[in-house]
Symmetry: none
Subunit: 142 residues, 4 copies
């Protein structure tokens, strides 16, 4: 069970709408499947050059360790050397601040992850959550 | 001048429609801006795990060297060591087979690149070309 | 849908038994899930130091591109520069000789991949096929 | 002298049993030989995608520096720059939290290392220790 492209498009669209409705800066939204592979990406006009890589790192860190990126931030504050080591172990893409959210179906099965970057980390996370909920799925932020 | 997200979405949508209309296997479409950075990606259901990386390598190789990936294939057949070296020099993402197409505006200005993967290389390229033309822009395949 | 650990253990065990019954050299067997992540590995006594990496590369190449590694060998013979580029694009682990086999369920859904290394490539593939069949699943070698 | 596959299988099996008996989350167990090369791996259903890489990093860090990963954590807290540098020097796989345990025979000879990931670090280590002791060998946690 994984995240199909139509669901991913719904998540991207609703996350962007949340940003627009709340006056956020331009967002980049990345959706990964349960294996951690890219399904859909949109980077809004005015985003800086590497926002894909930042948003990807939030989602990829989350799916790699099975935790929302807010939990990875807590771990980074307690044990920065663990997060540095895990980043290296997973190949370099792990960004431990809010905005990387696991996606679960109503039964709790893990479908994938969403990463958002462009605003404050809290607002990035809110956009990701709004996207997941718009698809009728359950976000896990930590 | 670069490729905005709405144009990128049009290219992705039209490339996918070309595949659907012609009975292609599932496609992955990546659009990069003039700086070589990701603007939009969609990976269709049934694509293998790393199709994003392959499609990205076609587009990234094209924008990196200013040539469509068909020209990179010709160069690989003549001087494989040059393409191997260039792949390393650009950071690892350069796939020298057709399907990576430069995007130019009517005046010839370079706006970005599109990469498609999933079918035969020739069909991948045809989908990329269809996507660019649907946006009223000019594809460059070699 | 993916490959659970018990199924992976059955595949490893049966692939090894095939090798033993046929007088093969020591084998290393790697099973990956549908996302390309390690589920189970066994490296038999007498295997050389890096057999895990070779067997992993056969399975990882297969799942990354959605083809058995025998098909990757055919492509490498026609377009060595494509396989070199794909290896780089997927992060370095892609070994294009037989012995990397896709695993499908009876309905054709992709569950994962098996990589075997230690004997001739043809024998490695035969062991992988035997392992997959022993689990009641369908191997795809090209 | 090194760790043979049957011993490695015993360690994996007993570490997993320890987790099951104590209600741990799904575990991933990696056994390396005295040369630091993979002998056996099992990743339990429900583990996140990159648990192999994390468990591997605990064991690989331990065998690389000749210390249990608990000692590597102590060093990381005192000199994070040393652990960061060592991680890079050993090729990227070194995770300095408990759960990476050296394996010695009764005479004290070093046979290999075990890495466990999935639960708290202390519980990961307890599972690794249980696995090593079940094989009649001596664990070294720091």
């Amino acid at each position: 069970m994984t995240l199909d492209l139509e669901t991913a498009r719904t998540i991207v669209s609703a996350a962007r709408a949340h940003g627009r409705d709340n006056g956020f800066k331009p967002l980049t939204v990345v959706v990964l499947d349960a294996g951690g592979h890219v399904v859909a990406v949109e980077r809004e006009d005015g985003s800086s050059t590497r926002r894909f890589e930042i948003a990807h790192g939030k989602a990829h860190g989350a799916i790699s360790l099975g935790l929302g990126s807010r939990a990875l931030m807590a771990r980074a504050e307690q044990q920065p050397y663990f997060i540095a080591a895990a980043t290296s172990a997973v190949g370099g893409s792990l960004v431990p601040v809010p905005g990387g959210v696991l996606v679960r179906d109503p039964s709790g099965a893990l479908l994938g992850a969403v990463g958002v970057s462009g605003e404050t980390s809290d607002n990035d996370e809110a956009a990701a959550v709004a996207g997941v909920e718009a698809a009728g799925l359950t976000p896990q932020v930590d």
